[in-house]
Symmetry: C2
DNA sequence: CTTTCAATACCGCATGACGGTATGTAAATA
DNA sequence: TATTTACATACCGTCATGCGGTATTGAAAG
């Protein structure tokens, strides 16, 4: 294929195709050749010019998946008009009410047979989201008195893992009812830590999302 | 090699070797040939006679890893002299004080670079341990009044995932201090659910274990 | 007690798929 | 024009798995 004057577009194309295939067939069952076949004329050389390995593509895909969500997290984290607890509440509200994941839900669910992709998201959550977004908020909450804990680093990990991974119906392949019940347990857990971050509007929306997911199975 | 009159021994050998290699090098970086090389004369055909695929070996290895722990869980679950809450406490005590995992800790830590093995354990925990061992105990606890929850199935999942996966220093590659703090958070979480299952003796032992793990890194 | 025979434990080469590399080429840029 | 860069093409080594074949077994038949 002819050389592209804007190579970012080629990178983007490779990532989009890879994302779709990784979700549909799983990372391990997607071959480089599969990706090439959906690239519309591009070759193996193109891929290995822009990415150093298949795993490198996986990392980039994962980053892209979490990018938008992370932007939202950063905005809330950096506001100065909210207490730590209020920020936490806002995060959960945002991620449920206006999820980037709407398309994820409709594209090709079921990470429960996709070890590598799941692991990659898992790692990103622990190594990036927890320390860079949740932890600072907990630390602020400790200072402003809205949050009380002796172990903010560990608590931030537990919170984000529970919220982002465990209650994610795409990962655990849960029904609408199961997701709803998980969120009720999550709410209770947060209350146990003295945090009241889940309200009824959020629960209603969650049921809606889970229903969408079920339909596209 | 000569044919073995007791083929279970061959199966067992293959599993032992595979387990060691999967832990040391990771599942994906262990080739069938690697396994053969450590089998003492057995061939590729032997492996594929007893197992239908490499993945099949992984499943069998995982089963064997959790087998002993599951036996313990079954014994406690089936006792008739304890309340639900007491059983929970005993489970955590057992799994910490007398861990089968002592050897796992010394053999070859670090599942944080072993997506497939981790995923396999993860799946086993959710699909087997939670519903078959923890859930019945919660249900009993609801009946005998020692445990209160509206969502026993979801709570059992959350508890076992947090206890077995999140606080596992082998999986998250935590230091002794980090593991200790995680367990403190876990304790607080359980207290939030009205469950008092962690005592000081357990915390002391946990610090010990984490130290062992650190030494063998 | 011996012979027969089917089941099964095991061998090891063949094969095709796959991830990755080396090298070539032409367009873009400086 | 010279250099860099975006891609193409041919090729390599490794790997999981398939498969035709052989040797050993245990049990039943003679």
């Amino acid at each position: 294929m002819a050389r592209n004057k804007h190579p970012e577009e080629t990178v983007s194309l490779i990532l989009d195709v890879s994302y779709r295939l990784f979700m549909e067939k799983g990372y391990e069952h997607t071959s480089i050749q599969d990706i090439i076949d959906h690239l519309g004329g591009l070759s193996k050389g193109a891929i290995y010019h822009h990415f150093k390995s298949k795993e490198d593509i996986l990392v980039a895909v994962t980053d892209k998946m979490t990018e938008e969500s992370n932007k939202m997290l950063a905005v809330i984290r950096d506001r100065t008009d909210l207490t730590g607890e209020e920020k936490l509440k806002m995060i959960f509200k945002e991620s449920i009410l206006r999820p980037v994941q709407d398309d994820i839900f409709t594209v090709a669910p079921n990470l429960s047979n996709n070890p590598r992709l799941l692991f990659s998201i898992f790692k990103e959550t622990v190594q990036d989201a927890a320390p860079h977004y949740i932890l600072p908020i907990l630390e602020q909450g400790i200072k402003d008195g809205s949050i009380r804990t002796d172990y903010p680093a560990e608590l931030s990990e537990l919170i984000i893992l529970t919220a982002n991974i465990w209650t994610n119906p795409m990962i655990f392949d849960n029904s609408a009812e199961e997701s709803y019940r998980k969120f009720m347990v999550f709410r209770q857990m947060m209350q146990g830590f003295g945090l009241d971050v889940v309200d009824d509007e959020m629960l209603a929306r969650l049921q809606e999302l889970a229903a969408i997911y079920q339909k596209n199975k």
